[in-house]
């Protein structure tokens, strides 16, 4: 069997453009691999469980119930419809923490594959985002359900949701690429990151509204924690039912693009060494 429809490929190690560009080309060539990796991760995560993929929706729902019970009894936040508030925040946070951790682990533990066959180095980081996106979209079902049940109006502004989601995906990819590059050289980073994440969660208005924060703290968090703005941006069209103002949008957009650019440059620059390390 011949693969005649393919143009003859010549691999010449001396002829290669900038890595940041050539990696993009390689990823495009291997786009089916990204799809297969996402499919594998979505299918195998719950493969042996009875409820299967339904867990993608039950998971955040369960967490929401626990947190709602805990926080509506202990701390009383002045938030209308707390379950919908917390679930919308959790979806963002779960996406961020799961995809970035997955990207790091794939790079550190999936390193075996890089040593044995050629695949684009960023394939795992990208597919982690794809898997997270599938989970996020599926988890929107229980969120909308909770909003319906609790009587939170669902407005047309929901059509704007893809914009904050895109920002979230690209931001997470940037963080994932940066950290996984570092983690290849210092595997301890993977463990440290888990600790950092638990602190980061409390520095982001996921389970509490930003209104409970003192003015000064809010200022600093908004400035230094990009997730602060991204969570807010995600809640606006769905939970608050309004579009963000330009002033609410551009800081996140700028931070995300800068971080992604930096992550991509750093990752591709070091990617040749991944096969020697890891």
């Amino acid at each position: 069997m011949e693969r005649t429809h393919l143009p003859p490929q010549v691999y010449d190690s001396s002829k290669r453009g900038p890595l940041a560009i050539s990696e993009l080309r390689e990823l495009f060539r291997y786009r089916d691999l990204i799809y297969q990796l996402v499919k594998r991760d979505v299918l195998t995560r719950y493969k042996r469980s009875v409820l299967g993929v339904a867990w993608t929706m039950l998971n955040p729902l369960g967490m929401m119930v626990v947190l709602t019970l805990a926080f509506s009894k202990i701390f009383r936040f002045d938030v209308p419809n707390y379950p919908a508030f917390i679930l919308s925040g959790l979806l963002v946070w779960n996406f961020f923490s799961q995809t970035t951790s997955a990207a790091i682990n794939a790079q550190v533990w999936g390193g075996g594959l890089f040593k044995r066959i050629y695949i684009p180095r960023a394939a795992f980081a990208i597919s982690s985002m794809g898997t997270g996106l599938v989970n996020l979209v599926m988890a929107l079902v229980p969120l909308l359900l909770i909003m319906l049940v609790t009587g939170t109006p669902i407005r047309w502004t929901i059509v704007f949701l893809p914009v904050p989601v895109a920002i979230l995906v690209l931001f997470s990819l940037g963080v994932g690429l940066l950290l996984s590059t570092v983690a290849v050289f210092f595997p301890d980073v993977a463990e440290m990151y888990q600790i950092l994440l638990s602190a980061w969660l409390y520095l982001t208005p996921i389970i509490y509204p930003s209104s409970v924060l003192p003015e000064q703290m809010r200022f600093w968090l908004e400035l230094l924690n990009p997730m602060y703005r991204i969570v807010t941006l995600f809640r606006l069209p769905i939970y608050d039912g309004r579009l963000p103002t330009w002033g609410e949008l551009w800081p996140s957009l700028l931070t995300t693009l800068m971080l992604l650019g930096l992550g991509w440059y750093f990752f591709t620059k070091k990617s040749d060494e991944f096969a020697y390390r890891a």
């Binding site: 069997m1 011949e2 490929q9 190690s13 066959i117 096969a275 020697y276």
Partner: protein, 258 residues
């Protein structure tokens, strides 16, 4: 256009290939210690040269053997050809599709079915979904697994897994086939089938790059051979001649001019 005779077309061109691995010299127990030393620029590295200045030209349709002791750099050289490692210095040019039989069934997931694994493994080898769609039945037929396609891989025997991996990896005739050690794929009948497929590829113009500890195998199958020792290329020539030299002094340091 002037047609060049098949045998004289270059399939693999290695020009002064060197590969070095850098490993930290001391074992830092804590990250803090490492970070401090890193910032001070005091992290010392051992530089280990796995390959040193290797130049080699392999033509289309050749069955080329690579011989040498453990740690001589054979696997590193294969990885350079398979694009897994980039040479630290020097240049490698490989023409056409490369199928590395280094890792049969790379990325197989045991909770997925045989069918799902064919798609996953195929994608890892760079096949598109349409290509797999079109060739799926033939791949399964070659692996003789028609009755098990939709069973999870964990229910397969190790022989069945290896058959599936081989069938996917060698379905399309590559221009360069990299074989590391003898194939331990399935039973004798299936092994013969594998060898027959590889030999047919060779007749059709595929370059076979074979690595083995077994000088008998190299001598019986290869047209030419090269001998690596301590990262240096010690000799290139007819397979019988190289094997004889290797037997005389397997640890020879490079006799070639630096």
């Amino acid at each position: 256009m002037i047609s060049v005779p098949l045998s004289s077309r270059v399939a693999i061109q290695l020009e002064n290939i060197s590969v070095s691995y850098r490993t930290p010299k001391e074992n830092y127990t804590t990250f803090k210690e490492y970070a401090i030393r890193f910032l001070q620029g005091r992290v010392k590295h051992n530089v280990f040269w796995a390959l040193r200045d290797v130049s080699l030209t392999i033509h289309q349709g050749e069955i080329f053997g690579l011989i040498g002791r453990n740690g001589a750099g054979k696997s590193t050289l294969l990885k350079v050809v398979a694009r897994v490692l980039r040479p630290t210095s020097g240049r490698v040019v490989v023409t056409g599709l490369v199928a590395p039989l280094l890792e049969i069934g790379a990325g197989f997931h045991f909770d997925l079915t045989g069918r799902e694994n064919v798609y996953l493994n195929g994608a890892l080898l760079g096949y598109s979904r349409q290509e797999i769609n079109r060739n799926f039945d033939e791949m399964i037929a070659f692996a003789e697994l028609q009755d098990f396609v939709d069973a999870p891989l964990r229910t397969y025997s190790s022989g069945m897994v290896a058959r599936l991996g081989f069938a996917v990896a060698t379905h399309f005739r590559p221009n360069v086939l990299i074989v590391d050690e003898i194939l331990g794929v399935g039973d004798e009948v299936f092994q013969n089938k594998c060898v027959a497929r590889i030999m047919r590829f060779a007749q059709q113009g595929t370059t076979i790059f074979l690595v083995s500890h077994s000088s008998a195998l190299i001598q019986s199958t290869c047209t030419r051979a090269a001998w690596l020792s301590h990262g240096h290329l010690v000799g290139v020539g007819g397979a019988a001649e190289i094997v004889a030299q290797y037997h005389e002094n397997p640890d020879a340091r490079a006799a070639l001019p630096e």
